[in-house]
Symmetry: C2
Subunit: 360 residues, 2 copies
Amino acid sequence: MKQTIYSYQQLYLFAKKIFLQIGSSEANAGAAAEVLLSADLRGVDSHGIARLTGYVRLWEVGRINANPSIQVVHETPSTAVIDGDKGLGLVVAPAAMQVAINKAKNVGTGWVSVKNSNHFGIAGYHAMMALDNDMIGIAMTNASALVAPTFSVERLLGTNPIAVAIPAGTEPAFVADFATTTAANGKLEILQRKNEDAPEGWVQTKEGASSKNANELKNGGALLPLGGDKEHGSHKGYMLGSIVDIFSAILSGANYGPWVPPFPAYVPMPENLPGEGIGHFFGAMRIDAFRPAEEFKVHMDKWIQRFRSAQTVPGERSVIIPGEPEREMEAERRNKGIPLLPAVIEDLKILGEKYNLELQ
Amino acid sequence: MKQTIYSYQQLYLFAKKIFLQIGSSEANAGAAAEVLLSADLRGVDSHGIARLTGYVRLWEVGRINANPSIQVVHETPSTAVIDGDKGLGLVVAPAAMQVAINKAKNVGTGWVSVKNSNHFGIAGYHAMMALDNDMIGIAMTNASALVAPTFSVERLLGTNPIAVAIPAGTEPAFVADFATTTAANGKLEILQRKNEDAPEGWVQTKEGASSKNANELKNGGALLPLGGDKEHGSHKGYMLGSIVDIFSAILSGANYGPWVPPFPAYVPMPENLPGEGIGHFFGAMRIDAFRPAEEFKVHMDKWIQRFRSAQTVPGERSVIIPGEPEREMEAERRNKGIPLLPAVIEDLKILGEKYNLELQ
């Protein structure tokens, strides 16, 4: 499919101006655009500028507050619950992660559960905020239910991603960022566009049968937890997704399970909500709360080098260190620009016309 | 296979006496026997009394210190590093988890990384220690390398389990406890005994090819990370196992990756060890450091009831809540006893003769 290249700066400014147009403050609009575009830079195209229209639609129907008053509603020296005041998750999440980092500075670690928020972009961005502070960063979020737990035909969990960022020394940081499903929904969307089948273990039909149809979710089917089926450990993916849901939403007072608000603004809200908005969970652990950071980094480098240099299966160049492909992608896209699909460009142009902005 | 039933008390006393015979104190021997037997009670037969001989052999070759001086070597209000002094992991782990719980009482959460330890039984036991304190408990450990990361033919990670225990209200607690591989090694051992094939995605050959041979590890093959292969998300299982390794060993100063000491005493130690012993990681989070515990429990009950009552795929009774099968097993085995395989009984009888003890 023919793609057009835009510079990071072009897309960042466009997104920032859109956020300004819907009423975000200068600082919030900049923060939101930066988080959103970090997905495009790192190659997670499904969570970047392609979602800008979606965020605006949520604002249009009153589900997003462009200038939230983000507040700590409960805390201890190492924990906090934050009320996101219906804000953009793109703004609420970095604020919450900063609270976790500040607590870690004081007492070694910080743990923050967030309610009343919205979609926060890629989890990796928030976890990576810890790195410059010589801390390990953790970020997770729940999301609207697309995933059937093992043995269920009902969708009860979101793709509930987990990100963990760990500093190293001369080596780049270790950055894991993954949905707790066999495959993220974005990968399914790529197959849909190409009109290709999905591998087994990604989705099931609405009756719970194994399926290779990449469009199965439109028929009432569901994504499958990491593992795919019971024989291949799907109960473990289900447990992981559940832990993310509970840490993000039951600790904070957000909605959980099948009650998490949907991202598409046209999808009606679930009824009888048990909480407020979407939930996130963040953690920061100061390395030197455990051992001197320099010592830790020497061993992280050794770990990374040992894994990277492992003997590989025929045809593979090396064992991949988590975060490596995304870092390489970011270097390339900062330099050469970000390719967008025609459908995404069309969508952004319509959005621009609505708000008197041109995508240059 | 014909099994013989022993009461919990019989096996507990036998294990405790063995630990006393190798020099453990009364308190340590009791603690170790309790942790060990909790695996048998919960149906994780691979990690229970069947391993008693293995622990004794490690002591015989000088790799286990029966009366360790377990010490906090570094700490902040919410963190600690503990040196297990080569102790039984069965004793070191509950002591470390208690430190995490005490820190959580003071500052909301507690996080403890442990070096210089040994195998700690089932992760779930330690995580569940938090429940009575209205805390969420987390336990993980690294283990000797049996698992090939995605694209590797070398074994670089252990089965590195994660346990998370979360209190509920009228419902029993949510207790997840799982190896970060498609299947735990214990499941492979069951297939070996039955002379059956393994499902695809559990193991690979020493050249990295997919295999159904349950004995593949003896041929130089490897267990696979949760997901099985790249197409089914094995990089996510590899990331999870890596996070466990780093939290357990690089934060504490234990051995990591391919350098983790093996459980069988006859397997030589890896050379040029970068750390001390095996590593664990524990966490405790006070529920009321986030919101009132009673509120939290009402929503946990609602979560559990919603998931348990979900519509199931044909032929399945219900969606399983993590910890449910183990709890039912424990109730049954406390009541009716613990069945042991002839090979395990034989092994225990030989051990008993060596230490002048009878398995009654």
